[in-house]
């Protein structure tokens, strides 16, 4: 563990990862700074979900390094990533339908001291009043949008330094999408860094500081989200270079 500069909260160098023999990610290097929102864009099959999974310990690296808050993460288990402050909200707004909303949040703080856990759960609920009022209802009774908010709330219980979200807007109405992205802004102002995988390019760009584009397992573009003509560049990246 060594001192690190805020720009390099998360440093990924030369990561290759995949499933079994299938090599999906080829030599990925990105970084996320403290308090930034970074979007990861790209067509389907590019490897975005695979990248997030390799950054949170859900799949192991074939090669490369991950450094988080100055700590080399290598081949840690998901549990240790969460402990270190890197939380991954997986795609599909998957929460546990057989237990209550409150219990869903308690589980997110499983390894915490019980008083701290209760405090954090209340803090997380404070962010999402819509689900706070459903705290004793089963997870299965929530709508898609509410489930997504619960999933993000679960991530908050650990007070992460960096939260990674995989397509949080999938299946949500435009109003709810704005709500979720609004929450991300609030988190940013609280000092939480965000790595966001999204399909809705313009929405993603509107909240991000920086953006990466991933195609066919490689990073093909890194830019400031406010850059002029960015959308055209992204189009080219998505649909092949023959524009």
């Amino acid at each position: 563990m060594h001192t690190w500069v805020p720009e390099n909260l998360l440093q990924v160098k030369g990561v290759c990862a995949g499933y079994g023999k299938l090599n999906v990610l080829k030599d990925i290097s990105i970084r996320v700074g403290a308090g930034e929102i970074v979007s990861l864009l790209g067509p389907n099959g590019a490897g975005k979900t695979t990248l997030l999974k390799s950054l949170s310990g859900l799949i192991s690296l074939q090669s490369g390094e991950i450094e988080f808050a100055g700590q080399s993460m290598g081949s840690q288990s998901a549990r240790n990533f969460v402990r270190a402050g890197l939380v991954h909200v997986i795609d599909g707004h998957r929460i546990f339908t057989q237990i209550s909303v409150y219990d869903n949040l308690l589980l997110a703080g499983y390894n915490l001291d019980s008083t701290v856990r209760k405090e954090r759960v209340e803090e997380a609920l404070y962010f999402f009043p819509e689900i706070a009022e459903k705290r004793s209802e089963l997870g299965g009774s929530l709508s898609g949008g509410q489930r997504q908010m619960l999933a993000v709330a679960q991530g908050l219980v650990r007070s992460p330094k960096l939260m990674m979200l995989d397509e949080p807007s999938a299946g949500l109405s435009p109003v709810l999408v704005d709500r979720v992205l609004g929450v991300l802004n609030e988190l940013k102002s609280k000092g939480v860094a965000i790595l966001l995988v999204e399909q809705l390019i313009e929405k993603a760009l509107s909240v991000s500081n920086r953006v990466y584009a991933l195609t066919q397992g490689k990073i093909v573009l890194e830019a400031n989200a406010r850059e002029v003509g960015l959308v055209a560049k992204l189009e080219a990246a998505y649909l092949g270079a023959r524009s």
């Binding site: 859900l58 998901a78 549990r79 998957r94 237990i99 589980l107 499983y110 650990r158």
Partner: protein, 285 residues
Amino acid sequence: MFETIFVSGLAMGAIYALVGISYNTMFSTSRVMSFTAGQVGMLGGVFGSLYMIAWGLPIWVGLPMVLLSCALIGVVTEYVAVRPVLKSLDQHLYVLSTLALALMIQQVTAIKWGTEPKAFPRLFNLGSDIWDEKFWIPVIACGLTIVALEYVYRYTLVGRAFVAIAEDNMAAQALGLPERNLRIVSYALAGAIGGLAGFSGGELILAFFANGAVLNFYGFVPVALGGLGNNKGAVLGGLALGLFQQAANFLVGGIFASVAVFTLFIVVLLFAPQGLFSSTSMRRV
């Protein structure tokens, strides 16, 4: 006559149900069906007889020791036969590894304990005829277990973690739940429940090494009928099986009773491969 059939059916059914719950508990955190469930059931009776008759310990020491010993066997199962094959892509290795471990347990018991059934102590010396404790201890044990499990699943954090892992393993992992430790705990719990099955039923089925194979099959039928992972289904299935078996025993005799049970088992499974109360289906392609 009818009362004896009913009462012994309930008792045997409760023993089978407990073994079924043991299967389910192991399955819930590992997605693995283990051949050792029946063997821990057998060990419940054998250890009970060993601790309380051979070593002369009183029940309030003997029972906890039996539960602990069987829990330990459960942990060994997880470590030796389940964890190594979870990583492998060939999912069906677990059938072989747990079968091997179950056989090892059975053989060691046959050699060390002997191949003859040995006496099991009379625990409380209560009741007689149809109210004899030997019928009601298993039923009460089964009832208590169900109640205790409900409590654990609903009111303890560990229990709710089990429920979460059973529902969505990857989401649980991503959340940082210690799935390996939880799996070990659930296997210990399953061992204890299996041990309770054999201990509570000891006065009926004695301390006999061959009980392992019998409980393996008869404890599995409730799971097949009730649906994998469904404890309430296992209890219903177990009780139904116990009653059916005792009735068949009386009507057509012991040997054809087994044939009847087996035929029932096959017929039900061929019509409803996932069980009568289950709703899981898998996408193949």
